[in-house]
Symmetry: C2
Subunit: 365 residues, 2 copies
């Protein structure tokens, strides 16, 4: 009985993947669905991966996000007779970005909360699980760190019991976690689970639109994270309470242009829309030292567009070529250093079209 | 030499149609382009048609519009040696909706202003033109009446000189007219010229995105115009100056969903987005007697969505079937009568995918 833990790049299709079961639009009632017949585990152990996500995307503030490949969190879940049936225990938190800030109490841990919510939806009462969280994402970076943990956990728990739940249910499970950790927003958790670009259309009922970026077109994100803790409260407080009609119309039209550019695979248009926010970015950028110059440096270096990822401090630029992406990243790192006096790290990552997925499993005997 | 004036439904492709020359995204500088070599007329006379348009489209307020087939204005333009070279004279205004409010002075007439702007762009100095405007659209109905006249005139003038200008130039010519008549907004004139759905991305420079509703899918508009003059100033004054962040995010997300639904041909999603405006429609609907009940009646009768067309008073609903559209129209007319004490007329019209076009011509000898 070999345990195969693969890289997240090529998921094993042991069971139909969660995100492939659904049409582009998900409509569901906002109450936790339950499966009346308790499913049995089909694996002894599974390992899942969930990608980093870029939320907000300029004029897509609070309703649009997308997933980034090759960067994210892993969760391993094992059937564990030493854990009380129907409960979950976090046995370890490891990985590059394991932190003391992360609680092993499942009620206070993103992965734990999402795992419990998923177990409840599945109506699990007879089996206990233990969970290992491997943090590949830094906390508070603006790359959907909490959502990645929650998404990986929800998918792992669902898959160990045969994948009975659909993507929309897993998003709801993840939202329980996000609500406790960073606010009731699905713009990270939905793309972390579903992959690609996801538009949050409404919360009550939860309606999600999967926006398909055309196959065969390359889209790279240049992610530049400075060594700076974005003051979350300040970032939220910086948002204007009221918006003038001209700015509202402008941002709405740019949001529409962004959506159209994604669906049409128009990278120039996408970048232009990404850069066009007149409401949120102008208030938040000054709170991240150097950000305004970093954006200019990205555009000068050839990026199609640049904005703040999530609530920052990571800056995100878009480009269609990996090598050019690296050059853009260098310019952005330099600008963070020169203008913001901040060290920064650049990565160039492809759009993730898959979302959270199983990357390893041990079948039951 | 036969003069052939056809119906607008099947345009003659005498010269390549203006709207087919361009890619989906138009980017141009906002200055009137001129053609340095004055073109000669290739026709003695032409007749053009430009469709009605529905602007705003709920959350698409001030940046999104679409064209409606089989309803609009005609313009005939003739080379006229009795008119001073480089100038235009309006010889007649006819049609169902000819009105004394329409001036024959070309400087004060939508068609005249757009015709002059087009002549200037073409650098016409040696030929004088006379123009006949046939008003198929009522004034102040919320169906882009002024834009239809301007679009038909711009296309007619361009085509009589061999169609040298592109759609974006004609939109700029039409904008000169719109600016004088109803404000500097391209959400009627752009779809009137280009057909289909058009997103106004920016004005400086003018950038337009053509949003293609998939071929082979039917989209009908139920247009119900009550016998009521919408108080234009009041309609504009009703708009909120400031918008709270939650409503801004909501409308932005709905605008994104509307754009995605158009591109994906998702009529249910399109209707849902159309109905979802929380900012403009709630302020304007109460100013049109019965409008709120008309919307409810449309939805009850099976419409996918309903809102105010332009600044009203026409109500617009969407459906995928002409017969069902007629039933919906009857329900809406009834609601205008019962709830608003207003007589109303219903029409069911297809999406116009073509825009302003030549419908007849007399070649030069």
């Amino acid at each position: 009985m070999a345990i195969c833990f693969l890289s997240p790049v090529k998921p094993i299709s042991i069971s139909p993947l969660v995100h492939n079961k659904n049409p582009p639009v998900f409509r569901c009632n906002f109450s936790l669905p339950t499966i009346t017949t308790e499913p049995k585990p089909v694996f002894t152990s599974v390992r899942s991966f969930a990608p980093a996500t870029v939320a907000n995307l300029g004029p897509g503030f609070d309703f649009l996000g997308c997933a980034v490949d090759g960067l994210g969190d892993f969760v391993s879940v094992t059937v564990d007779s030493s854990v009380h049936p129907g409960e979950i225990s976090i046995s370890d938190i490891s990985g590059t970005h394991a932190s003391k800030k992360l609680s092993k109490n499942p009620l206070w841990n993103c992965a734990g909360i999402a795992a419990i919510a998923t177990m409840k939806m599945l109506n699990i009462r007879s089996v206990g699980l233990s969970l290992i969280l491997e943090k590949g994402l830094p906390l508070g970076s603006g790359l959907g760190s909490s959502a990645a943990s929650a998404a990986a956990a929800a998918v792992a728990v669902n898959e160990i019991f045969g994948g009975k739940l659909e993507a929309k249910d897993l998003v709801l499970a993840g939202l329980e976690s996000e609500a406790k950790v960073s606010g009731y927003h699905a713009d990270n958790i939905a793309p972390a689970i579903m992959g690609g670009f996801v538009l949050i259309r409404s919360y009550d009922p939860l309606e999600l639109m999967s926006l398909k970026f055309p196959e065969g077109k390359d889209l790279f994100f240049v992610l530049v994270s400075p060594d700076f803790e974005a003051p979350t409260k300040k970032m939220r407080a910086a948002l204007p309470a009221e918006i003038g009609m001209p700015h509202h119309v402008w941002n709405c039209s740019q949001a529409g242009a962004l959506v159209a550019s994604v669906l049409q695979g128009d990278l120039v248009g996408l970048g232009q829309a990404l850069s066009s926010d007149k409401i949120v970015e102008p208030k938040r950028a000054p709170l991240i030292p150097g950000m305004e110059e970093v954006k200019k440096a990205a555009i000068r270096a050839g990026a199609f567009g640049c904005t703040i990822s999530g609530a920052g401090p990571t800056a995100v630029a878009v480009i269609d070529d990996e090598e050019r992406g690296k050059e853009i990243g260098e310019s952005m790192v330099e600008a963070f250093w020169k203008e913001g006096n901040l060290k920064a790290v650049a990565m160039v990552k492809r759009l993730d079209r898959v979302g959270a997925r199983l990357v390893g499993s041990v079948p039951t005997r």
